[in-house]
Structure formats: C-alpha cells, structure tokens
Subunit: 338 residues, 2 copies
C-alpha cells in the first residue's frame, strides 16, 4: 500500500519497544459462537493485559520516546482507555501525564487513570471538547500533546497487532495442517478482519499491515450508527462531521474525523459499515454466553457486523479484534439483561 | 527436585508438540485487585484458548502420541474440561474419543464435549464412578485409558505453564527493569504461586518446574474445604479419601487421591490449604469486578486463599493460575449475586 503515513519498518521497530506484556495476545477460534454466526470466528484478544485494552501498545511507543527525550510531560484527551494506558506506560518512566476526559466518560476508566497516578481533568462536554482542552493545555504549558490516531505512534502501536495476526491468516498455517481453516473456510473465500473504528488508529494501523502482509484479506471497519462520522467520511471520501453521538460504545464515539487519518483509511480499508446499538448489545451477550468474555461495547462491534450481514460472512474465516474490556459492570448488566 | 516422576527434558519436549494456541498464555499483573488483597496479584490466564482451560496442553501431548501409534481410540473420565480438551486435540488427528462424566457435571462442559464430536457417556454418580467406568470401558474395549494426573502426559502438559512462568518470577525481569516488582515485593519476600489442586496434574507439573527453575518460590496448592482429599493426604503423608464432596468447584472435586500423584506432590509443594465456599464465591466476584474475568470456581481458588490468609501474603508477589472458564452462566450469576 503506497501513500499512507505508515511504514512497515517503523511498525516492526515499534514492536521492539513495547513491554512484552502487551504483545502476542491470544488468537483463537471460538467455535461455540459459530452455530449462531454462521462463520469461523477467530478472536484476537486484547484485554488480557494490565490496562485491559490494546492501547498499551501505542502508549509504550510514545512513552519510550518521551523517556529518551527532554520533555517529561504529556497530555492527551481520552475516552478512558488511551489515558489509562498512557498513565501505565509513563508511571515507571518518570513521565508526568495529564488526561483530559469527558465527565460523562465511563467511571471505571476514570478510576483506573487516577489509580495509576495520572492527573485527570474532566470537561463538561463530549470527547471533542476534551480534545480541544488537551490541545489548549499542551500549548499553554508547552508540553507534548498526544493525539490519538493523528500521532503515528498510536497507529504504529496498534499496527503491531496485525504483525501477529497476518501470519495466522495468510498463508494458512502449515505448521499445524489440521488447523480448522479447512473445516469452514473454502479456498475461494476471502478471510475478513473486522476492526472497531473510532479515531482510526486501530483501523489504519492494522489495515496497513494486513494490506501489506496479507493482501488477500478483506479489511472491514465497524462503527456504531450512533457515531458514524469517520464511516460516513470514508464513504464520501471527505471529512464529514456530526453534531452529536449516541452510542453505548464510548470508546469509538467521535464526531470530528482527522483528515490525515481519513486519507490513510481510504487506502487500507475495503469497507466501513455501521451497526445498530441492538446488534452491539447482542454481540456483548454472545461473547459472554459463548466465549466467556466480558468486554466493552467497542469490542463487540465485529460480532455486531456479522449479526447484521450474515450472508456476507457465511462460511468465511472471520477475525475480530476484541479491543477492550474496561466496562462499567452495572451498565453492562443492564445492557445484556443480567 | 529428585524422586518425582517428572523430568524437565520431557516437559520441554512436551511443549514442542502442543499447538501454539495453548502456549504462552497471558501473564500480567492486575493492580485493580491489589487494594482489596494487599499483595501484588499476577494472573496467568489459561482461559483464552479454544477449550477455555489449561487442559489442552496435556491433551495435545496425549493425542500427538496416540496419532503416532497404532491405537486410535481413547477413553477418559472427566469433570468436563479434560474431556473437552481431549475431544479438541483428537478431532483433527482422527482419534476416537469416549468421555465418561457424571450426569451432575456442568452442562456447558458436556455440551462442548458433544459439539466436538466425542462420544459422551454419563454415569449416575460422581467423578469417581466415572473413573471406574472409564477404566472398565478401556479394559473391555482394549483401548487407551487416559487417567488425569496419573498419566504423565497430563502432568507434563500442565507443567509447560511453569516453563513460561518461572522466568518471569525468578530472577526478576531485567529486560524491563521498571517492572512493578520493585513496587510491592520486598527482596526478602518469597514469591508465592497459588495452584488449584484437583487430581494433582496441575500442581505436580507446575510445582516440579518451579522447584527446579525457580526454587525460591513458595508453591501453595489450594483445594476447597468441601473436597479436601488430596490436601488432607498431603498433610498426613498418606492417601486419605473422603466419602463425598460438596463444592461448587466441580473441576477439583475428587474423593480418591492417586498414590503416585501424592508422592510427587509431597516433593514439590510447600503447602496445601483448604478454602471455604464463601471465599471461592468472593474470589469469583473479585475477578469479575476488578479483572473483568468470568471464570469457573476452580480458577478462583488462588484468590480465595489470599482472602483467607491476608497476613501470609501481605506485600508479596503472588501468582495465580486462572485455570478455566467453562462455567454455567446461570449458576455463576446465582453465585456472584448478579
């Protein structure tokens, strides 16, 4: 893939500075889901680490660079997962972290940010207001502003997921020839990778590596209908904003896409789809009932996409990145009907 | 450690034949649990694989041996996890599997055994009756009897967990010197590893490797008060049986310890403790609330042991193997009060 801001050598170099606790996350097929979904469902699980989301991969890259430089302070806006990960990566490197978040952000995410010693500033508005405020703090204090998805380190960190994923998709694994790929996937079927779409770091990073190392794969971004700005932008090939968001998937609820990220996404994504809230909830419930996983709504977007278009995925090998599990349990119980 | 049935070279060789999907499981510190437990809690997560328990490590060894030999049929007794794992490992190797289980076994475990194509036979009694019946089938049909914990492959498979664990405990990791070990553990504190004790394969396998590669570690086995046979045997240094079991931890509910396993356990375990059902339930709830993990009761035994003896573990580095997540969700909700 030519023309993106991403580069395979840089992504491989990023992997070298990431704490191994975030690397080589589990990848396994979850057959119990398959009678319900009609395709081979492979889970890349990014929740079994100290911050319970994939964001640690990117913040490790950022923090290791900051630790090697003169500036020891950094500020970011976050719906919660980036802030928690940045706080984790910075703590033992002696960096000073400020996280700006919406006061409506998931409480458990904010609690973890505080517990990890970061300074937390809440704004009386949504994530976009937090982004504005973080930028103002960075300018006023003269410190580093970490902008999710715009700053390449966040994309490169996320992209390391696909360094692990690509060899397992294409070519089919030969070390274990009895791998179940033969059971469901037909040779003519393109494998599909379903990626939660928020700011775009995960989708552009993973998409770039897959298009480079496993070009036969169909890269599909999934966003909630209630927060469709980047998906709409992808389809119209220009930045389209929305006035508000309305989704339980707090991790992907942006309104104002970043032009540079959209440009990359246009080059690495094969499709971007929107899913209903009810499908996200059903996805949460299926992951609990049949995979034993409690996850946050953003992590169920891939399952939601399968639910909304079974014909598209019927019989295919599908991979979905379960990207986070920082969820408010009370809300979760309400959503899934426990 | 001299005198056990176990051997490090054989365990290393076992690792070579295990499908990588079961290897290098996540190991991470879960700080959110620590204010409640008073020690550094490190989780070795054995649930993020196709059979949702550690048993696949052992059945991969068994099945690869069977596939290389003349006998293509195997029978085992199982509370559910061994049977599911054996069915998974055998399916694509063309082996014929019969699993004998108690009709009171966890329904979701039995469903997965059937779904994976194994023949399932239920006995109207507990796990010990299933063991008798499996032995009778093996003798009558002239096929391989796989006996959990007695057959070395099951211990060796489980022991591969400790090949991954030991380098992370002792010596402290130097590749990432900022690792939090400095934060809580004092140099004078022995790290502790808490291991669920059922038939004994997990405890003897993991214990042997730890005693060999990380001898400073305290190896502590944990069993429910309601199924104390092997723990009582360990303390009395002779096989002690019980007439019944009464615990929600179905995966570890045996009554008749195996002498050879007890002999090994006496050499590799530093202690064996019993925990109350209420502590297991609290452990389940803490793992859900603060680690986002839905697990089966056996997997919460380590947390239960900390809860029952906080002074013993205060400030120490503690490692616990979260060994399975095949749980009946309705029962689980009832236990944890959802």
């Amino acid at each position: 893939v030519q023309g993106t801001r991403l580069d395979l050598d840089r992504i491989r170099a990023a992997r070298e500075v990431i704490d191994p606790v975030f690397l080589d996350s589990p990848l396994y097929r979850c057959e119990a889901l398959e009678p319900l979904l009609g395709c081979a469902v492979n889970i890349k699980l990014e929740t079994a680490n100290p911050v319970r989301s994939f964001k640690g991969r990117g913040t490790e890259v950022v923090a290791s660079q900051l630790a090697a430089g003169d500036s020891r302070a950094v500020v970011c806006a976050s719906a919660g997962n980036l802030g928690q990960a940045l706080a984790w990566s910075s703590r033992d490197r002696g960096l000073e972290v400020t996280v700006v978040a919406s006061r409506f952000a998931t409480a458990t995410k904010l609690d973890r940010i505080r517990a990890l010693g970061a300074k937390l500033e809440l704004v009386d508005g949504d994530h976009e207001l937090a982004r504005e405020r973080a930028a103002a703090i960075a300018q006023y204090d003269g410190i580093r502003l970490l902008e999710d998805s715009l700053d390449l380190e966040t994309c490169e960190g996320a992209a390391t997921i696909a360094l692990e994923l690509a060899p397992q998709i294409n070519p089919p694994r030969t070390d274990f020839p009895r791998i179940e790929q033969a059971r469901i996937g037909r040779p003519s079927d393109r494998p599909a990778v379903l990626i939660a779409l928020g700011g775009g770091a995960l989708a552009t990073g993973v998409g770039y590596v897959l298009k480079t190392l496993a070009p036969a794969v169909e890269v599909i971004c999934v966003q909630p209908l209630g927060a469709p700005a980047l998906t709409n932008s992808w389809h119209q090939r220009r930045v389209v904003t929305t006035d508000s968001t309305d989704t339980i998937a707090d991790g992907v609820a942006g309104r104002i896409p970043i032009p540079e990220v959209l440009d990359d996404l246009l080059l690495v994504a094969d499709d971007a789809v929107l899913v209903q809230e009810s499908s996200i909830v059903t996805g949460l419930r299926l992951l609990l009932d049949h995979a034993g996983l409690v996850v946050e709504p953003s992590a169920a977007l891939g399952i939601a996409a399968i639910l909304e278009d079974r014909d598209r995925f019927a019989g295919r090998q599908v991979f979905t990145i379960v990207c986070g599990s920082n969820v408010d349990l009370n809300k979760y119980r309400h959503w899934v009907g426990l």
